[in-house]
Amino acid sequence: MSILVDRDTKVLVQGLGKTGQFHTDKAIAYGTQMVGAVHPSRAGEVVRFEGDTDHSGVSGRDDTYSVDLPVFATMREAVAGTGANASVVYVPPPFAADAIMEAAAAGIELVVAITEGIPVGDMVEVKRYLADKPTRLIGPNCPGVITPGECKIGIMPGYIHQRGRIGVVSRSGTLTYEAVHQLTVTGLGQTTAVGIGGDPVNGTNFLDVLRMFEDDPETEGVVMIGEIGGTAEEEASEFVAKQMSKPVAGFIAGTTAPAGKRMGHAGAIVSGGRGTAKAKIAAMTEAGIAIAQTPSDMGEAMVRALG
């Protein structure tokens, strides 16, 4: 079954600049149902995307694709004109929070915010704004969400994925690709891979995604990839211990990170002695999560946990 996105998901792209256009092209090549774009200064345009099909994506398609995307000025018009139920945000940091809220106001059920660099204060407001809306936000500062063979929303390379039995949830981008690659190579594959992003305030956390994987009949186990900063992994561990029946394997990055320094991701910082890799690994181990010692062992840890 997978979670969050599938072949029926209809996606709008918010922000059709260089980055947005590049990744929209890759998504269409993969077979994602991109149905339109919102970019106020380009409203009224129809943008053609064409090229060679990425056959690692949705099966049964021609070797080439050619798709015309209408560009709208507002999300409300775009939803009315396309029936979209999801959006992906590539809007630059000063305007990204506004774009997320616009999507929520237009009734979008799933917003995936790729943008890195949104001010924390803006995300605090976004969280408040979304509290009474039907919108689930993934991110920001995340690589996106992918259900292999059905729908790819974000910047991850589709071809390393293979549809299978393991759910993946991660705060990182390229470190996630390591895990996905190993799961593909071992033949376990993925049901859905979710990047929740590296920011301190985000829309969806480990706990939320683990719950979804627990309820997904296709997912048999979960790999969770965390890092220093905050207490999301500890909260997730409590859920795993008390309410999760499926096996979980994990890796925590940042054991060697010095205290007080932001390690790339805005949320990757040990402050006031809290948010250390050690504490997270301890909490996860206590919850029965199989810990990989190095990123090269994540696939093997999942095999171990599946028993």
């Binding site: 001010p119 220093i228 990055a253 190095t294």
Partner: protein, 407 residues
Amino acid sequence: MKIHEYQAKHLMAERGIPVPTGHLATTVDEAVAAVRPLIAESGNPVVVVKSQIHAGGRGKGTFKEHPDVRGVNVVTAGVDGGPEAAEEAVRDLAGKMLGSTLVTVQTGPEGKVVNRLYLEQGIDIARELYLAVLLDRAVGRNIVMASTEGGMEIEKVAAETPEKILREEIDPAIGLADFQARELSYGLGLDDEAVKNFAPFVEALDRAATELDTDLIEINPLVVTADGRVMALDGKMAFDDNALFRHPDVAAMRDGSEEDPAELEAKKSGLNYIKLDGTIGCLVNGAGLAMATMDTIKHVGAEPANFLDVGGGADEEQVTTAFQIIMSDPNVKGIFVNIFGGIMRCDVIASGIVAAVKKVGLGVPLVVRLEGTNVEMGKRIIEDSGLDVVSADSLKDGAEKIVELAR
């Protein structure tokens, strides 16, 4: 981004948050010149001379060159001896403090050179409290933290007497409410006069935090004076780097001398670099993968020399800059390049590495692990280059190889 105490107090004063009167001094003469105006303005003959560095623990810290001089000095000479005596004492202190190296629990043993002093009026302190506004990640909102245990390390208070830390969550829709300010002031046991002054103080602090996009505003101690006034005796502010684009006045307060020059240079090239103490240089795409690479190096028995994330689009110029920065660290005995190319193509990074190595000239072993888009092409480019580069198949394999070669 961090700023100095005097800058934080300036920002607070601008927003109607009471702070003691103070003057910045970068020379001994400037420090002495500040004494009489301070005494005259405040009517208080006591003057405080404070080192301005980004680290805390200044009060207890001492100078390498003058171990009998502390980072913060309360000058009482003026009480009996009048302004001349105060000026004498300040001249002597400032002469010893400026240009000297202050060592505190937070600076590390190498300490920090003090280039700026803040001269402040003496305050009649009745009580010392703690007050801060910061993000609570678990709820995704700012909170106000307050405690009667001012002038102490708050982490110690949190560990030993957590019940003494009051907490109010701020709803972003309305900011800190009046009733919340009242709850805090009752929890702090303030008397009536102080209660009247505390509410506007803490509400202004909350507004400042939101307006300025701070990561943290910490006032330790927050003092209550004998006549019930509430004032920030110390002030620490740190800002969300992601928000600086909309605060050019704050961005202008950056003190380059407080930052590592290599880290600054890297930032200019769009690279994320943090210097560490080890011997294995790292060059990776992606922050999580970069951290994991450092961790794996430690796991196989060596220490990483740095964190370096080249980001999603490293071109030849950036890769060259990255190598130059890593090589500028004399501790580096080997370099490990670990790339998982998604959008980034392995052939592009391989060409970049070859060009960079030819330009910079390594002198230490180099292990390259490539995976992802165009990996075979990338590996071939490295092989055909004729350079002395060792290939690795996995992250662990690469880490093991570089640690062995760098021995």
